[in-house]
Amino acid sequence: MSRALDLAEEALRAAEGDDAEVLVHAERSGVARFAGSVVHQPTLIDNAVIRLRILRDGRIGWAATNRVDGLAKLAQRAGEAADQARPDPDFPGFAPRAEYPDVGGFDEETASLGPEDQARLAGVAIDAAGDFELYGYFTSGVTDIALASTTGLVADQTLTDANALCLAAVEDASGWAERTHWRVGDVDPAAAAQEAAAKAARTRGAVEIEPGHYAAVLEPYAVAELLRWFSYDSLGAQGFLEERSYFCGRIGERVFDEQVSIADDPLDETNLPKRFDFEGTPKQRVELVEGGVARDVVWDRGTAVKAGDGRVSTGHAPPDAWRFFGPLPTAFSMAGGDAASLEELAERVGDGIYVTRLHYLSIVDPRGGVLTGMTRDGTFRIRDGKVAEPLVNLRFTVPMADVLGEVHGLTAEPLLMNMNELYDDRFPHAALVPALATARFHITGTGSGPGT
């Protein structure tokens, strides 16, 4: 039993007499963030947050603390919150006791990394960047998530994660690469830095292009970001029930190219696997898009009840910091295709653009699935099926139905992309996605050039 589960059960005892649920979210992590090849924002965090939800007469309230000696007051505050709420007829009750799959996701070597190791691995990346200065970070951490409730539910998982994010750059050139895994042995910071530097070396002398519709090759870094932003309104049950989702009225219909299949698969050990969600519901794979046909969105207990059609949670209750969005996918698994390489995708495009990474996306029209953002750190023209001259950063404004609507191909091997921006309490999650070639990527403007 982990320390987190000990704490959860202790907090549950403090709420004796009430229907209650305790979530403990603990982290011990280090981030060696560097810029200009110098570590400048090194951050070590050691903390455990205890959230107590109390249900009284159909009223639900919650309180949280990180004071392990303050559990009695925590119970008092959560009780006061419940007392002053209103009865919620849609509250589904706390999750029942369940069996959880053994999914891995913990690595002793990763868990044992300390500040010296995190700094050393940052140094490995920096040393591998050659003539370029390196920006980014190496981080590793241990995250304990435990739940206990008066329904008898007991859930506990200790997660490890490590990732190296590398921007190799000088004033007029920049390239990007990253490596993520739950085993530090599968994260090669030097390889990430070298890939970023090689990309950067090709970006000098970037030129502008005219706005318009282009065919495009999108590297996995770009694909993952598009899916993340599309998911906020379109792939979670809240946006679906509130009629902001592009999938509204389209479940069972062909929405994308038949080569496009997207699932959320938190049980996959090649992703960052999870046993249960933040309500203690067992995780499950959810098919979102199969062969271009919209199949489902992800659900938690509350949205499943609101749907009113007998559906149940798919195990996607979010952490508190994401409550605004409701349940969301946190383990994208996009099927690969038959392209052997990025070069082959460029050949299939023939004439178009090549995009490494995206920046600062925003949702222009949720129901229409329209996103905007910029490309960066490796944007090129594709001519005659070859990656050609570098381009400045491009503004795109795209309906996802266009981007995924006509696909020239996907690479065979999906790659794991970090999705955790390290806000709030550490919650490692990632996307397993291939590169893809699309027939339509609408460029609506040009911006700054590559580099710092």
């Binding site: 200009g36 924002q41 050691d46 505050r77 006061e80 509130e242 600062y360």
Partner: protein
Amino acid sequence: MKALAEAAVDAALGAGASYADARAVTLRRQHVVTKNLQVDDLSDAESEGIGVRVLVDGAWGFAGEGRLDAAGAREAALRATAFAKAAPGRHETSLAPIDAKSGDYRTPLERDPFDVPLSEKVDLCLRAEEGMRRPDVKVTLAMVRAQREHKFLISSEGVAIEQEIVECGGGIDAYATAGEVSQIRSYPSQHSGVSGQGGWEFVEGLSLEGEAPRVGEQAVALLSAPECPSGRTTIVLSPEQTIMQVHESVGHPTELDRVYGTEAAYAGTSFLSPGDLGNLRYGSPQMNIVSDATTPLGLGTFAFDDEGVPAQREAIVEEGVLRGFLTSRETAKRIGAGSGGSMRADGWARMPLVRMTNLHLEPGEGSFEELLADVDDGLYLETNKSWSIDDKRLNFQFGTQVAWEIKKGKLGRMLRDATYTGVTPVFWGKLDAVAGRDEWQLFGLTNCGKGQPGQEAHVSHGAAPARFRDVEAGVSG
């Protein structure tokens, strides 16, 4: 708490740090959210801890520890020092001098928002929701929030500061849907409403209930409104949209740490360089931007920043020319200046970064109506809906919840799905008028992201309606 921070600084110095500061922080946050006339979230969260920042041989180290006791303070100090010693490569960090001070500050307020019963907050939200309900309004949402942060800052250079900052706020949203069209209308902003530093009187002053019927009606009206046309035109931005423009295209690019590249991998850098100070034409002569950490009700108001530098008011852009950067002690020294006092940390578990405090577009002259009167054919854009800007803060695209045609100096038809785009200094060069002081409004936002690990700063901006000529509007996918 003060003694713990002092002990942490002593421990860091004893372990080999040449400089150390420690922030002991307690934080309490309360949220009430109602949605479709049900309580959606009713929460009361507290957090405490100590963050210790050190310099060892010119290298930074930082550790945040959630145990606010003697053992936690000592461990944070030792771990921060060990991290700094392990940093690879050569480091040459040095800090601009500081006139070390002791002091304290407390938010002036009339009614402590934590003294307001949760049930009163729930009632307020439900009443506001009732006002928005319409047949085509599928979702109504109302929220109020409160936060108290109490912190001690101690440094090895003699800084000893206690501050207690209280803020609260609220907002409402109405989502209307008909067929394939879904529209949102919000007040006072889409971004979790607005907040101010002060007591519950700030929330009462928002008049959420009073504005609710208009918000509901406009959400429904948007469903049948024509789409915003494409083309180059004159736009007038509402104060709430103007402050988003200030935030993204002036605030972030003038953060001097970004200018020096420390955010390059994530949030991006800046099109500005240190040599632009005093030289670069940022916009038209009507453009005057100030950074003011003393603004009443501002979320970025304090007596001292998180390095112990006193709050300041300084020009960032004067009559269209770049006059200042937002700085820390470290970045200010690189341009030979004293710190502008813009270092702020998100709680105890994050290292301070250069952040906006309160950044305002100074008012011009005249009324909103007078601003419109000089527009023969244009658009009035209100309430931010989408926002995106490139990594050097040049190319941007914003969308607003609602637009109105301006025809012959008067507001005309409502339009939906409005967007506009531009390049920062070109766009600000097209500013030809800002309305006067009577039209100037302050907005406090709580979702300004930066840093890795990520931090969310609470910042305020003030602006009056502003008019820009020859802008590309109506960008479509």
